[in-house]
């Protein structure tokens, strides 16, 4: 019984595994002064660099990988959290890819973090 509980705990811990990272690039001069951070939920998502014709300043790259099954939203939500913490208010060129998860199918989401002008 103890072993079953331990195995279940490990399974639950690993099943929810996700990791994120970001990379600041030298595309632009860093924004002066304090950057107003937006809520992850308010980070806009665009699949192309065109971003519906909106103008923006590139901040860097963001990546998230999550045990998400077929639910891209799980990985993209993590990506939005990372982008928001990075000072971005939008991500462009979102690309989804299959990845290996611990116990479930993994989804890797990558994008360019930007600040809208």
């Amino acid at each position: 019984m103890k072993r079953l509980c331990l195995c279940s705990s490990i399974f639950i811990a690993l099943a929810g595994c996700a990791s994120t990272a970001h990379l600041q690039t030298d595309d632009v001069v860093p924004l002066a002064g304090a950057v107003a951070h937006v809520s992850p939920a308010d980070v806009a998502v665009y699949s192309t660099a065109n971003a519906n014709g909106k103008k923006y300043q590139v901040i860097g790259q963001v990546i998230a990988s999550a045990d998400a099954g077929n639910d891209a939203a799980t990985a993209v939500d993590k990506l939005k959290e990372e982008a928001a913490a990075f000072g971005a208010d939008a991500i462009v060129q979102l690309r989804l890819e299959g990845a290996l998860g611990y116990w479930n199918c993994g989804i890797r989401a990558t994008a360019t973090a930007v600040k809208m002008k």
Binding site: V45, A68, A73, W103, C105
Partner: protein, 138 residues
């Protein structure tokens, strides 16, 4: 020890054998478009067009056990279900597992103008579609 030897390959196979079909609608995308038949979804390596006739819906990705043709069919099904009739900026991916997996990702687009033009006329607007079936994948 016997249990571990039994369980590990099962876990490895479970992990290696799963198939992914997923998409994410971008901000402002029309999420209520009529689905398109998988066979009618065109695949392009080129950049997503920015003209008003091309409506960007979002990002789409698949990763399946099989070759490029299997992945292509899966991508067309997923994009078609979104209401897209084209996928641009496609990229192939591979993951080394016990099962041979192939993935394709790209940008799902609803082309309003091109969808009603004959194939001969379409070539004036866009490059030739990718012939993913021709590649060796395994």
């Amino acid at each position: 020890m016997k249990k571990i030897v039994t369980i590990l390959p099962i876990l490895a196979l479970l992990s290696a054998g799963c198939a992914i079909q997923t998409h994410y609608f971008q901000n402002g995308a029309n999420t209520t478009l009529t689905p398109v038949l998988a066979s009618a979804v065109k695949i392009y390596s080129s950049q997503t067009p920015t003209d008003s006739g091309a409506q960007v819906l979002g990002s789409v990705a698949v990763d399946v056990v099989g070759d490029g043709a299997t992945a292509l069919q899966s991508l067309q099904e997923e994009a078609g279900a979104m209401g897209a009739n084209a996928v641009y900026e496609v990229k192939l991916t591979k993951i080394n597992t016990y099962a041979q997996r192939t993935g394709i990702s790209g940008v799902a687009v609803r082309n309003s103008v091109l969808s009603v033009l004959p194939d001969t006329a379409k070539s004036h607007f866009n490059p030739k579609p990718v012939t993913a079936r021709a590649g060796r994948n395994n």
